[in-house]
């Protein structure tokens, strides 16, 4: 087995008395899509923020590309990017200007050609010169995905990238991601509340509940282990059990 792109061990994050992420360990192999499932407040986004160096873990280690995130932040983050429906980009800049700024922050070469390519790939020609404040939510999602892909990451962290999007755009984005993952051998950490999407996109899934991993494996493994009809039923069972035990 090759060296994992991400190797997280005993990751813990406490905010005072509240434990948002509790002794979590997982890895992501090159070219693998790891789905992270869990109800709201399970610790998915906090885990992503720790992987991006935006939140300091209370305990545990994060290694990416064989390097420790705490001591090699710059080198690691050059090869990592993220996208989420919940993030924004400066509204007073055009789509193209925002992409140029991101490209410079990541030290890309041949920026105009790369921006042109990503604009074509994501079918964004019509909004290229548009102010970001005038974008619809679907266009905004494409922009945040474009900014993530533009930097040619080896690891992509996608936090509910299709939430609040219509089925057509969701379908296009998923198709693009699958093709891009195949052609670039990209590793992806993917969170979503859409169980069908998780089954479709993920090679492997970890299920987080109150900060802990309570299930791990392929979607089929998890469904059969819990004796449920599909992943959605597993989600409902675990989420309700979790709430009942609170």
């Amino acid at each position: 087995m090759s060296q994992p792109i991400v190797d997280v061990r005993n990751l813990t994050k406490r905010f005072g008395d509240f434990c948002a992420v509790d002794n979590v360990s997982f890895h992501i192999q090159p070219g693998e899509i790891l789905g992270v499932l869990g109800p709201n407040g399970a610790g998915k986004t906090t885990t992503i923020h720790m992987l991006l160096g935006l939140i300091t873990p209370t305990a545990g280690s994060i290694r990416m590309f064989g390097l420790d995130l705490g001591t090699h932040r710059e080198a690691i983050l050059r090869d990592v990017n993220f996208s989420s429906t919940y993030i924004s980009m400066p509204f007073s800049l055009t789509v193209e200007e925002n992409l140029k700024v991101i490209a410079r922050l990541y030290g890309l070469k041949d920026i105009p050609r790369k921006i042109d390519a990503i604009i074509k790939q994501l079918d964004m020609q019509e909004i290229q010169a548009k102010l970001t404040r005038k974008l619809s939510s679907g266009q905004m999602s494409r922009l945040t995905l474009a900014k993530a892909i533009l930097t040619e990451p080896k690891l992509l962290l996608l936090d509910e990238p299709t939430a609040s999007l219509d089925p057509d755009i969701t379908h296009k984005i998923k198709a693009f991601l699958k093709e891009y993952r195949r052609s670039e051998n990209l590793s992806i950490l993917y969170t979503s509340h859409n169980m069908r999407e998780m089954e479709e996109m993920s090679d492997r899934i970890i299920f987080l509940q109150r900060g802990k991993i309570v299930a791990e494996g392929t979607a089929q493994d998890i469904v059969s282990r819990f004796g449920q009809k599909d992943l959605e039923d597993v989600f409902l069972k675990l989420a309700r059990e979790g709430r009942a035990s609170q």
Partner: protein, 263 residues
Amino acid sequence: MNVGRIGGLLSRHLYLYQRSVARLLEIFYWPFLDLVVWGFITIYLAKQGNELHGAVTFFLGALILWDVLFRAQQGIALSFLEEMWARNLMNLFASPLTVGEYLVATMVMSILKVTAVGSLMMLFALLVYSYDIFAIGMALIPFIFNLLLSGWIIGVLTTSIIMRFGQQAEVLAWGMVFLFQPISCVFYPMEVLPDILQHIAWLVPPSHVFEGMRQVLLSGEFPGAHLIWATGLNTIFLVGMVLWFYHTFNICKERGMLVRVGE
């Protein structure tokens, strides 16, 4: 320190300013009004007699130099607010951009603002009031340099407070610098302050700049001692403030505040 990343962040602000009339007006409107009002006050004082020797030169010179400090501080603090309002801090600090590069970019931004506003004010003062700030002579360069440093110190302090306390502290981006105005002796000599405030003022770098300015204009002497004090204090405070900013940044990362600032 990566120059490309600093340039990248700088370009983000230049894109913003090139199409925002409101932001451009904000830079030029208040300095222009200040100059108009203080210009007429000094003309009035000059007509009343010679009790206040060199009033025009004192007030207009002080006003222009004060604006250097104010704009330098705003260059840092407003740059952070722009990122906060745009919810762009995550995009920046999840990129390879370092805290040091972020600070340098905002400092360069403040130099650009100071240059734009300062040039306009100097030109306006020359054309309307026949006031030439270069009458201060060679000392003008270290004066401006020191006020820039002082502006950065207050700007970094303001930014760290906003980062820590979020939107409720954003008013400090405009108000913080005025906390230092009374003890900076901008429009009056240090000797008019009560004893206790004189001791405090002595530790405030801009007070040495404005005292130095008055020394040049009154006696023509180069204010070497004041400049040494100003530069020494600025160096110590700037190093301390940058370390403080790193400390605050790390606290915000530990408490998960960096991803929530502005919410």
